[in-house]
Symmetry: D3
Subunit: 251 residues, 6 copies
C-alpha cells in the first residue's frame, strides 16, 4: 500500500485537466495529478529573442514557479529573494526543451510561445505535471493561431507527456511518486516521451545512492506505461485538436 492509498506501484494518481481555465492566455489548463495542481498557460508573442531574429523561425520557452504556500511550509518568493533558484532554472529549461522537441519551429514563424507553469499546490511530480499540462495549453494556443490563419499547417508533430518513476527501499520500482515517496526514494527518474514511444528526455538520479542496469530498465518500462495513459487523457481533453496532431505523427 502506497502512502496515498494506491495499491499498485505502477498506478498513476487521478489526473484532471481543465482546459481554457483562464480568460486571457491563448491556451491554458489547470492540471491536477493527485494533489499536485499546476496552472499552465501558453502565451503567443509576435517576436523572437534577439539571437533568433531574421531566421523566420519561432521559439518556445518556459517559466516555472510555485506559490509560496504551495508546499507544506511557506517558501520565500523568488521575487523577494531577487533571484531564481537553481532548481527553478533546471525545471524551466527542461519544460522548454521538451516542448521544442515535438514542434516544428519553422512552422510558427517569428513568434515566441511563452509557457508559464505556476504550481498552486505541490505534492511531488510538479515538473512532470507541468510538462503534461503545458503540452495541452500549447496545443490549444497553436490551434487558435491556426484558426486565425497565421500558420501554414499545424506545427505539433506528436503528443508529449512526462511522469516520474523511482526506486523505493521497500516497494522497489514505483510510478508517479507523490511527495512522501519522492522524499524517501533511493533513485528518482523523470521521463519525457512522445506519443510514438520515443524518449525526449531521461533524467535519472541516485539520491546519495546508485542504480543498476536492470533497475533502469524496470523504471523505463513503468514510465512508458504511465505516459501512455497520460497521453490518452490529453487526447480526450483536446478532442479535434488531437486529431490534427495524430494526422501529423511520424512526419
Amino acid at each position: 500500500m502506497r502512502p496515498d492509498g494506491r495499491e499498485n506501484p505502477l498506478q498513476l494518481r487521478p489526473i484532471h485537466i481543465d482546459t481554457n481555465y483562464l480568460k486571457h492566455p491563448e491556451g491554458s489548463v489547470l492540471i491536477s495529478v493527485g494533489e499536485t495542481k499546476v496552472i499552465c498557460t501558453a502565451s503567443v508573442e509576435d517576436r523572437v529573442p534577439p539571437f533568433m531574429r531574421g531566421e523566420g523561425k519561432g521559439w518556445i520557452t518556459a517559466e516555472y514557479s510555485m506559490l509560496p504556500r504551495a508546499t507544506e511550509t511557506r517558501n520565500i518568493r523568488e521575487s523577494s529573494k531577487g533571484k531564481v533558484s537553481g532548481r527553478t532554472m533546471e525545471i524551466q529549461r527542461l519544460i522548454g526543451r521538451a516542448l521544442r522537441a515535438i514542434v516544428d519551429l519553422n512552422k510558427i514563424g517569428e513568434r515566441t510561445v511563452w509557457i508559464d507553469c505556476d504550481v498552486i499546490q505541490a505534492d511531488g511530480g510538479t515538473r512532470t505535471a507541468s510538462i503534461t499540462g503545458a503540452f495541452v495549453a500549447m496545443a490549444i494556443a497553436m490551434n487558435k493561431l491556426q484558426e486565425a490563419k497565421k500558420l501554414p499547417s499545424f506545427p505539433i508533430n506528436d503528443f508529449l507527456a512526462a511522469t516520474s518513476v523511482g526506486v523505493m527501499e521497500e516497494n522497489g520500482v514505483v510510478l508517479d511518486l507523490n511527495y512522501a515517496e519522492d522524499s524517501s526514494a533511493l533513485v528518482d527518474m523523470n521521463v519525457v516521451m512522445t506519443g510514438s514511444g520515443e524518449f525526449v528526455e531521461l533524467q535519472g538520479t541516485g539520491e546519495e545512492s546508485t542504480f543498476s542496469h536492470s533497475q533502469l530498465q524496470s523504471m523505463i518500462d513503468a514510465a512508458q506505461k504511465g505516459i501512455n495513459e497520460l497521453i490518452e487523457m490529453q487526447k480526450q481533453v483536446l478532442g479535434d485538436i488531437a486529431l490534427k496532431i495524430e494526422s501529423r505523427k511520424g512526419e
Copy 2:
C-alpha cells in the same frame, strides 16, 4: 450601461469566495470579484521579524503577485527581473497595514501571519479583492490557532473589506471598477473599511486630473455601500467564525 453589462453605477460585480481552497495553508480562499480572481492564503509562522523579538507581540505581513498571464498581455515575472516593482510593494504594504488595523497583535503571541495574494486573473480591483479575500483566509487561520488552544481569545476585532470607486467622464461616480473602467477613470479611489463603518485606509488619486470635495463625498458614500455588501458575504462564508468576530466588535 457599464462595460461589463452592469446597469447601476453603484452595483458590485458578482462575488464568490471559495474557502479552504488549498490543502497546505492554515487559511485559504479563492475570491472572484467579477473576472478578477485571487488566491489568498494565510500562513502562520511561530516567530516574528528580528525587530519585534521579545515583545510578546505578533505581526501580520502580506505579499502580492500576479501570474504572468493574469493580464491581457503577458507580464515579465518579478523573479526574472530580480526585483519587485513599486506597484507591487505599494499593494503589499497596503494589504498588511489594513489587516493589522483590525487584529489585536498582542493576542497572537510571537507569531507572524504571512498573507499571500496571488492574482491568477486580473480585471481591475485586484488590491481590494485581495484585502477582502485575505481577511477571510486570515480569519480561518486565526480560528484554527484558537481551536488548537494557542490563543488567549479570538484576536480579530472587526470585519474588514475593501473596494474601489472612481469618477468616469460620462457616468460620474461608479462603484467597483473593472479594468476597462479603471483605465479611463478620471479619479480612482480605494477604500478599506471595517464592519463598524470606520475608515482604515482611503487612497484617492486624480489620474492627470483632480477632484472636488463633493465628488469625494459621493465616492465615499458609494464605497460604504459596497463594503457593507462585501462584509455580508464574508459573514456568510465564515459562518461560526463570523460570530466570534461579531461578539468582539467594539472591543
Copy 3:
C-alpha cells in the same frame, strides 16, 4: 502645546524655500519645513521613456532619497543594499503623479522632467515637503524652457502643494506633523491640493487604528488651510513665474 513648541494644532511649521540652490539643474530649491530639509531639483532631458516615444507628449517622473544620516540613527544607503525600499517607491511614485496632475504634458514636447528630492535632514513630512518644493523647482525649469522658446505656451495649469494632517490621542486633529507627532499619531493623512482647492491625492491611513467620517472631514479642513498658506509662499518665491501660472488657472 505641540512637541516643537507650536501652540496651535492647525499651525504650519516655519517654511523657507531657497530657489536656484544648485548651479547645474534647470530648476532647484532647498525647502525647509521646520527641521525637515529637502533639496529638490528639476532636470530636463530631451527624450521620453520608450513606451511614450512618437506621441509628441512629455513625461514627469520623480526620485526620492534620504542621506544616510538625515535621520536620528543612520540608515543604510539603498545603493549599498542594492535595492530601493517599498517606502521610497511609494513616495517617488506619489511625487511624480502629483506633479503630472497640474501640467499639460502635450505642451512640453517629447521631454522628460526628472524631479529629484533628496532629504538632507528629516523631521516628519518629507514627502509633502518634497512635493511642495518640487513644484517650485519644476516651475523654474519650465520657465527656463519657455524663455529658451522651446514651449508653445506655459504648461503648468495651477499651483500644487502638499501637507500632512493627523489625529493625535490627546490633541485631536493636527496640521503638519513633525517626527515626534507622526510617530504617535493614530491616523496619518497626506493631502495634495491645487491652488483652486481641488484634490490631487488623498492618502489617509489608520496606524493600527481606524477613523470616522467626521474625523476625515476635520483633517481635510485642516489640510486645506495649510495648503493655502503653502501656496502663498510658493507665489512669493516664484514672483513673475507665479503670474504665468495664475493666468492659466482654470484652463
Copy 4:
C-alpha cells in the same frame, strides 16, 4: 573520421590528470580531456551549512565556472552579469550530487568539501571532465584529512567518473563528443557511473529531436566502456589512495 581525427566512434580523447596542480587547496588537479581543460580543487571547511548543523554529518558541494575566454568567443563573466546562469547551476548541482553518491557523509564529520571546477579551455564535455577530475581532487583531499587523523576511516566508497555520449546524424552513437560534435548531435547524454558499474546519474536529451529504446541502450554501452577507461586512469594517478578506495568498494 571524427572532427578531431579520432577514427573510432567509441574512442575517448587523450586524457591527462595533473595532480596537486595548485599549492593552496587540500586537493587539486588539472584535467585535460582532449582540448578541454579544467582546474578542479577540493577545499575542506570545518563547518556545514546551517540546515545541517548538529547532525554530525558532512556535506559536499560544487561550483563550476568558465574563464571568459575558455570558448571560441568571449563570454560575459557571471560576476559582471550579477547572476549565475541556469546552465551553470544545473552543472554545479550535478557535480555535487554525483560526488555525494560515493562518499559516506557520516564519516567526514561536520565538514564541507567545496569542489571548484574552473574551465580554462572548453571543447565539449566540460561537465563530465569536471566530475572525473573533481573525484581525484576530492580523493586527495580526503586522504590528507585521513593522514591528519581527522577521519575514522576512508570515506570514499567507490570510484566515480563521467563521460558524454550522443547520436550523430551520420556516425550514429559516439563516445566523448568534442564541441563540434556536441553542436550537431541529435541526442546528447551525460552518464556518471561508479567503479562497480552502477549508475549515479543519467541525463539524456533530444535536441529538438527524440531517441529510441535501442539508441538508449547503445549509448549506455558506449558510456560504460569510456567510464571504465577513465577510472583506470584515476587509479593510476591516485596510486596508494586508489587502494584505499578499492578496499572499501561494495561497503
Copy 5:
C-alpha cells in the same frame, strides 16, 4: 589664466567649511572647494563589523555618493541601478583608509565611525574635498565622544587633508583642478597628507599619457603647499578641538 579665473597655477580655490551643518549626526560639515560642495557627516555606532568583534578596537569606514544632479548632466542613481560603481567604491575605500591612518583605533573602543560624503554639487576634486571635510566632521564627533567620557584620550594623532594636482598641456603643473581642468589634464594626482607633512596616499595617473620623475616632484611640491593651507583652515574651524590634535602630534 585658469578656467575659473585663478591667475596662479598653485592657487587653491576658495574654501569654506560650515561645521555642525546637520542636527542629527555626531559630526557634520558642508565643505565648499570652489563650486564643489560636499556634505560630510560622521556617525558613531556602538559596534564593529563581525570580523573585528572582541578585539577591543574600533573601525572607520566611509561611503560616498553624488546627488543625481550634482553634475552638468543628470546621473542615474546607484540605488536605481542596483549597484555601486567602481568609481564610487574606489573613492569610498580611499576616504576610509586615509582617515584610519591618523586615528588610534585602539582608543575608540568597539565602535564604528561611519563617514558619509554626499556631493551636492560637483566641479572637480570631490574625493579630496570629501577627505578634507570628513576629517573635520570626524574630529567633531570624536570630541563629542570624549566629552561624553567615552574615550580614554583623544584618538586623532594628526591633521589630514587632501588635494589634487595635475599636469596641463599648456599650463604645466597646477594645484586643485576644477572640472574643466580635470577633463583635459594629461596627468591627474590625488595626494593625502598629514599635518606633519607625511604622505598617507599618493595616486598619480597618466590619462592615456605618462609622466616623468621631475613632473612627479613638481606635483608633490604643489600638493604639499595646498595641503598646508587646507590644514590651516581646518585648524581655524576646529578651534579648541585643533589644540587637542596638535598636542598629540608625533605620538
Copy 6:
C-alpha cells in the same frame, strides 16, 4: 633574509611567461611571479562600447578575477555573491587604464580589446603580475591583428610593466612583496612604468601608517629597477613583436 628566501630586498621573484597558453584567445599568457600565477588573455571584439561609436577609435578594457581557491582560504565567488567587490573593480580599472596609456587607440579602429586576468594562484602582487602579463598577451593579439592586415600600423608605443614596492618594519624598502611581506608592510606602493622609464601609474598607501618624502624616493628607485628587469623578460618572450614596439618607442 626575506620570507621566501630571497636575500636581497631589491630582488624580484623568479618570473616565467608562457605565451599562447590557451587556444581560443587572440593573445594569452600564463605569467608566474614567484608563486603568483595569472592567466592573462586578450580578446578582440569588432565593436566599441556605445559611448564611443562612430569615433573611429578603439577601446581597451580589463576584467580581473581570482579562482576561489587561489588563496590560502577559499573565497566566495563574486558570481555567487552577485556583485563584484570594490577591490576587484579597483584592480580591473587600473589594468585597463595602464594598458591604454601605451596604445594608440586611433590605430586599432572601432574594436575593443578585452583583457582578462584570472589569478589561479595568489601569493602577493597579483595586480602587478596581471599588468605585466596582460601587456604581453595584448602585444600578441595586436600582432595577430596586424598580420591579418587589419591595422594601419603597429599600435603599441612602448613596453609596460608593473611591480610592487613597500616599506617593512625591519627590512626597510623592499621590491616585489610576496603575500607574507604584503600583509605586514607599513607602506604598499604599486608602480606602472613604460620602457622609457616614464610613470603611468603610482599608487602608494600607508596601511594605518604614513611615509616620508625620502621613503617615497627609495621606493620609486626600487620599482624602476624591478620594472627594467620585467621589461627585459617581456622582450625575450615577445621576440620579433618586441622589435615592432622598440621601433615605435618615442612616437
